[in-house]
Symmetry: D3
């Protein structure tokens, strides 16, 4: 993850997470370790998968103590195996203990998303279809989750409501039809944004093509409908297929030749990848 | 969820999530709806499960516009069924559209956790064992996730590192043994906190009992080992069983008679419950 | 300005500005007015121009006291004349006095930008060219300044570095050429964003067309060069002309048939529109 | 600018401005520069003027990456000439690109104010009159703008409503006359503050003198009136002249012998000084 | 306390104090009161003294629930007697319980300061000397403590380092003498600020007079020295006496005819005034 | 004080206190010291007592300038004597001057609390009774004040409403009796928390014992009553005595054999310990 992004977007969130876990002090650690001691601990993979979020993991410790050393034996996007030592962390034992849970909570979640995404991307291999995420992310974790999707080989849809135009049924109704909605959006939105229209029927697809939509989303359509939609669109707009995308039907969606398939499950339902910090050793009893 | 908790702990997080989704403006909505219109939309369940987080859902809209009306047909903890209309939301259509995603992201996640927890709790019915969550929560979502566990029928372990004492192997090593660690914790920590000791062997269990631990955690032990541990402890401390708790082995853990079983999966790997906002209607074209 | 935008993006900035002006208390007002009194004051135009930011003006008082009444006799975008009473504000006199400066600082600045923009837009009338702003805004005032440009009849370029792709010479150099830069951007950036390439020579224009850039910026070119560039581009990309745009040369740029002309001066060098609050009257001596 | 002021007052504002420009990431830069590269760029003056804000310019880059080297060839207050290389900035190219706009937005604005102020101050040379700024600053930029006025040779009036007492017509009306208003202010305000009274007629001037005002402001008076006012005051209070101060009438105001002339235009209507970052070179392709 | 001051300066501090006391939830209250109930409680004085901070007390509850009713039977500055019912608070019982401690912590502290100040002010009655506070306040409580001093009849010295000029020995040494220090301060500081010089010897007093200091502080001098200093100053500057001001020596200081005596003890060592909330009654079992 | 606690909990509060004292700049210092100079100053004890908060004192300067050197000649908990040089601080003179007041405000207050606590603890020597603090702390200073109590030899009660259960009369009334209240608390609160019940009569003490309370507080009882209460409790719960604890009656409370005595005065009414920074010397005139 880019240093500037970490600094401007992530640091405050990580610090906030640390304060969520330590509201006044880490009582257990402070009770038995009144002074700092130099220690080392290993980051161990407990399940095969794709690792993502190593810089966030390291940052958590650096935010607690800039002198903490994190030495990685892998990098984001690598396939890691159960039992593999992925990193060694060296520093004040109290920092290692107090930061452990937050650092792992981020790393496990991001790696879970990357692993699940990679699985889905494999199914699309050989096709022209790109896998997209959605805005169905965990609140206040979007920056981490969208990055994890990329590490897993997926691509990002718009980041949020401000940086992309997507006209849904309600927008269209309010504008009085697809044509008017697209025109209003083109007049209002910064011209650097493409206009996407969500469609549920073939009539809407036609209208969207005529209105000059840049992207047409086929929402919750049957395979049959989508085939017809693709013929109507015929390359005049980019196409995105959305709704109940599963491991099972993903291949068939790709066969339709749509440009994009988007899946909320990448970020909202991927189970975590099991990772732990183990084998802590005291290197030196001297205060550091 | 309690009003004071919403106000002091949740509001800032929800607002932050809204700003994550709207960094300058909701371009699509503002393009086609230059003025407010009174509208109504339904909250529909798309999957059977336990609903949790309705007050957070409503709060999201109230934070955008205090005059939004949310009328619920169910309450937290109810079993909801696919197709069920759970609520009607009435207000400025722009508020309904701009707040939808964040409101649903919270509600879906919290309900997913409650649903998964209820499943696990059912297995424990009839036993004396209580199901606990852990600190393996999504960063900056703990207040929501721990609440959802309760709605699902589970109980909460300590909230964070500040409000509970848990002595792990590293704390024990630093203190020079379980006895000393417990003594140091009792001297240091506010006396209102119970002292929990994490054990991995029967020798450690014995030591913990002798040290006067209030709670003894049996971590990653075999059923056999735990049986022996329970005999050693013999009611002199509360007991918690932790590590790789699954639907499959949960019944056997309960049969051991442990007081508590804790599971990280409740909060880190429960898939969401599918919920959507549908059937938006414009009630009045007049500005409100 | 949209209520949601005010609430999520502006309120904190306005409150911050109020705290910039009142670090502990408004000493003068508190010294002579120990109690609240109901008063009324007029908002008077002191210079002809386009008014912009009335909702921000009102919001400043509402943030100090929600019961303040602001009754407007004009709306954003109106041409206002010297001497015209644009609004009457009724409320606690202390609120009127303490909020006056911040409210006017916003309104004068936004109206100055709208007035300057309208001037420039008039010159473009009849042409197919749209006037754009830039990212050369006053720090922590972008949301207000870009809105004022729109009120003045201009359009907004990308909001910031996150929601638009603009490949400048350095990006191109880093990527090893325009073709590679465009390809990398298309692979990396969310697909909803158009790719703009900044060009300074006709060779670069050609490359940009071949690379499939969505928008080509002609930066600091002579009229002659731009004429040739337009021929090369020939409708295959949108065109933006940038650099030293003045009242004097704007007409000639429009004559070239470029789609967009962007000008930093709209936001960084427009003088304010002179506006003041006058004729304060005490309506009632009773505390409110 | 003082390091402590930068740290306590400016850093948060600069970081906020950076986040205004980068809400999730600098897409263009990250797309083509996945790794850091050491680069160098020049800060070039494009217009003659007074430079102000160099420490703010440098701070912007340091806040993104503390290892960035900024080497200046001039200092705040210097007259800089078109084409002059004012600084060289060396660091991670991504930092140079991502911070450029915010750093320049501050520097251009502050230098514009300093340049305009110096112009006005020149007119006052040889007189006993000091040029003052006002509270008509851009919201959330006062710390920068008041500093720029000083660099330009002007002086600062009170910083805000909390640190100076200025009794205007409304304060006086509320108190029941100038005498009472001054007495109330003296009783209420910390004694370290001088009491200033705003007057619009010669009667008010007399009253203010009698009330023992420390400073008397002559607001929007004609030259004739001010001459008489100066005779009435006769050194018994400091004098400030305010309202529609222009290059044209400034000399005549000074000839009156007033102590201070205040001008809002210094901060609200000075055009920026044109400055750019140019000639970026990659020094090393190796990651730094 | 002024509404605007409460809103701009106090609300965030009070909310922060509430979050200091409730990091996730009020466990005791939520355990036994799952629903709101309307209740009433009395604010009882347990010690004679001067009450100060009633608006802060009420605000604490209003910030938790705007519908809470606080009905006062006294006002800031009143002498209250042991056993006196000072207010009745009516609202959701959970709000009354959860806000009690923070509300009282403010009220007790502010009333303690007002009570102690009033005591000292009484000693000065009949003299021309005014009692001042200092910057020796409790961190992040200055706005409350300086207000309490005023309620007790004292006056405020400068609010902080930004709004008053005080030249101490180190400033004088750095400038090269009192004369230069005063000249530099006059040139640098906004002209609305008076210049105060701290002196420890009679020579310094002479220099300060000659330098034209507005205020001369006699720091830690003997009564004898101060008598001579007063003769030297002879009305040419205001005089402030500081250092180890006690109930015992205060009268003698006043007899010297100094304008001001400042005492840090007012804010840093006044014991609290004992106050409690008692006699809570449930008015209605119905949810509100 | 632990580094992690300083970083996560204290730094923001200290910075906030610095901004309370410097809202725009330290005018006096900046007027006479336009450039940095290396200086040194001593921290001198002016009153015998227990020192507490040295790391907070040092942190204040480090937050202003990380290169400041603070060399201590004592440590928290030491008995310090009038006139003793406790530390030498070396750094930019402007940092030493601008940070002095805030650093001392913390140190004096914390040392005052530690000194007062040590006094009280001495009285308990030889008894089995532990001295506790309460939640009667100064708003937004709890982390500092509770630490100071520990330095003085006292122990901490629960940190806040979230991390301890205390059932008072109102909770009991709401639940319908002590038995039900304890049962509800045990069902609701995380099991790691002990349940404390506040009692005012012997009947309540009996009920609390029967309900299985972990801790029983004897609130405002007479010595006689407490003697009887201790017999009723008979070791079945821990005991805490509270209410009007003074130097005079503390010994008698200890003689009762209660486990804990809690006193609000430790944090709300301890006078400060007088400490000052003196003997500032300029070491080098060169800028640093």
């Amino acid at each position: 993850m880019n240093e500037i992004t970490l600094l401007l977007q992530c640091d405050d969130l990580i610090r906030q997470a640390l304060r969520e876990d330590i509201t006044n002090e880490d009582v257990s650690t402070n009770a038995v370790m009144p002074r700092s001691q130099l220690g080392q601990v290993q980051l161990i993979c407990k399940q095969d998968g794709i690792i993502a979020g190593l810089s966030v993991f390291a940052r958590t410790f650096h935010l607690l103590d800039a002198s903490t050393q994190v030495s990685f034996a892998c990098q984001d996007g690598d396939l890691v195996k159960r039992g593999q030592v992925m990193a060694t962390i060296t520093g004040d034992v109290r920092v290692l203990l107090s930061g452990e849970r937050v650092a792992l909570n981020y790393l496990q979640r991001m790696s879970g998303i990357a692993t699940y995404t990679r699985d889905m991307v494999h199914i699309l291999e050989g096709s022209r279809t790109t896998l997209l995420d959605t805005r169905k992310t965990t609140p206040n974790n979007r920056i981490f989750e969208k990055y994890a999707v990329k590490v897993g080989g997926g691509s990002n849809h718009r980041y949020n409501l401000s940086d992309g135009v997507m006209l849904k049924d309600n927008h269209i109704a309010a504008a009085g039809g697809i044509k008017d909605a697209v025109a209003m959006a083109r007049a209002y939105a910064p011209f650097v944004r493409k206009i996407e229209v969500e469609t549920e029927t073939l009539d809407q697809v036609k209208e969207a093509v005529e209105a000059g939509a840049d992207i047409i989303m086929l929402d919750n359509m049957s395979i049959k409908q989508m085939e017809k939609a693709m013929i109507i669109i015929d390359g005049k707009a980019q196409t995105e297929c959305s709704g109940n995308v599963t491991r099972e039907n993903l291949k068939r969606l790709a066969d339709l030749g749509v440009d994009f398939v988007s899946s909320g499950a990448l970020t909202h339902s991927a189970p975590i990848l099991d990772i732990s910090m183990k084998n802590l050793e005291i290197i030196s009893n001297r205060s550091i």
